[in-house]
């Protein structure tokens, strides 16, 4: 950090998910912690290698769903039972079976909204400007190029070492240093 605050990290480009996986693995072997990988498709097993598994999304969805459901039921119960009680077709005011469909739909809605929000928030999107976009050839990350990045926030980060690592230990076809 101290010396390299101007640097975001060093990026190595690879030609296949296999190569990427290898690179990531050896990076971990070299005690690099702050890694990030970029790929045109989810690369199997990469998360495990990078040591970041699991996601908060399920929790979000659960909360959203519960909130939606409760809102749905109480909106109905209060609306027709308490706020303005009506005699509708001789049905009792608390005719709960008739409240099920709306409760259900709102549960789903709440969950879905939460899911989308989680996607945005957890991924920090939208993020139109980002240092990695400056990397030459990065546009191919959405086609067929794979990248591994060692961040400057890594305790053992040193641009020179990292570059050497990429060029000698991995099959990087190109290595780039990213400025903030």
């Amino acid at each position: 950090m101290k010396g390299f605050s101007g640097i975001y990290g060093v990026m190595g480009e690879f030609n296949s998910e296999g190569a990427l996986r290898e690179a990531a693995r050896s990076a971990r072997e070299h005690r690099y912690e702050q890694l990030d990988a970029f790929s045109p498709l989810p690369v199997e097993g990469l998360d495990e290698i990078l040591g970041r598994t699991g996601s908060w999304a399920p929790a979000w969805v659960l909360t959203g769903g519960v909130i939606g459901g409760l809102t749905g039921y109480f909106l109905q119960f209060w609306g027709v039972g308490i706020n303005y009680p009506f005699n509708v077709g001789g049905r009792p005011l608390d005719s709960w079976p008739l409240f099920i469909p709306i409760t259900f739909e709102l549960t789903i809605l709440g969950g879905a909204v939460a899911a989308v929000l989680s996607l945005f928030v957890l991924n920090g999107l939208p993020q139109l400007h980002h240092p990695v976009f400056a990397v030459p050839g990065f546009e191919r990350v959405t086609t067929d190029a794979f990248f591994l990045c060692i961040l400057s926030t890594d305790p053992g980060f040193d641009p020179l070492l990292v570059r050497r690592f990429f060029m000698q230990e991995t099959g990087a076809v190109a290595v780039t240093e990213m400025r903030r």
Partner: protein, 225 residues
């Protein structure tokens, strides 16, 4: 590959995305509040009249009973507007030359009625009945406000359905002492409360006993036919 967007754009975009849903919600709330605003409901907005008739002067000043002009209020659904002759009973004697009363005199001579601007306007599908309210001891002021302090007549209630329901859901609270509907000073006792004097309270509760139940009072066909 070059950056497509500058950091600033990125920031703006993010902010917009956050603001947009908030704006939607805010808009809804605003619309709701607007429906109660004095612009939408005209509450408290004095209305111009051909003759600047002052309830303050006639009621508070001269102590004229409401029924003197609104003569059918206890008899029909319609409270009744005074005919030109009613005005002239006094104004053929006093203020005979007052220019503000010219329209009244014209009406009498031409036989053409005065066209007052309506202040309390209910939709045609609402069947409000003054008779039944007043005779059951709902004070005029309950809906029309402290008329006696209004130089020019103005609405004090939104006259929205929700407002009607308030009383129809809590009839007891709406009652004035039965004998207090018209005669000053009780007619103006805005601060009168059910517990004010036990004797009146008894009378009111007796009345409450024989008004229809709340469920009946909140039935659609009570007002819509």
């Amino acid at each position: 590959m070059a950056q497509i967007f500058s950091p600033r754009v990125s920031l703006w975009f993010k902010t917009l995305l956050i603001i947009f849903p908030l704006a939607l919600v805010g808009g809804g709330v605003a619309a709701y509040r607007f429906s109660f605003s004095s612009y939408a409901t005209q509450v408290g907005v004095p209305v111009d009249q051909p003759v600047p008739f002052s309830h303050q002067h006639h009621v508070a000043g001269l102590g004229i009973d409401c029924q003197y002009c609104h003569s059918t209020v206890t008899k029909t659904a319609d409270a009744g507007m005074p005919d030109t002759h009613t005005c002239m009973t006094c104004h053929s004697q006093i203020w005979t030359e007052a220019p503000v009363l010219q329209p009244v005199r014209n009406s009498l001579s031409s036989g053409l009625p005065i066209r007052w601007t309506r202040v309390h306007n209910l939709a045609d599908y609402v069947y409000f009945n003054h008779r039944v309210h007043v005779n059951n001891g709902i004070s005029c002021t309950k809906c029309h406000g402290d008329v006696q302090s209004m130089p020019l007549m103005k609405k004090q209630a939104t006259l929205q359905m929700g407002w009607c329901l308030e009383c129809h859901r809590h009839p007891a609270a709406a009652f004035a002492p039965p004998d207090a509907v018209f005669q000053p000073p009780q007619v103006f006792t805005l601060d009168w409360r059910l517990d004010a004097d036990p004797e009146a309270k008894r009378a009111v509760l007796k009345k409450v006993a024989d008004v229809p139940s709340v469920r009946e009072l909140t039935d659609c066909s009570t007002c819509h036919r």
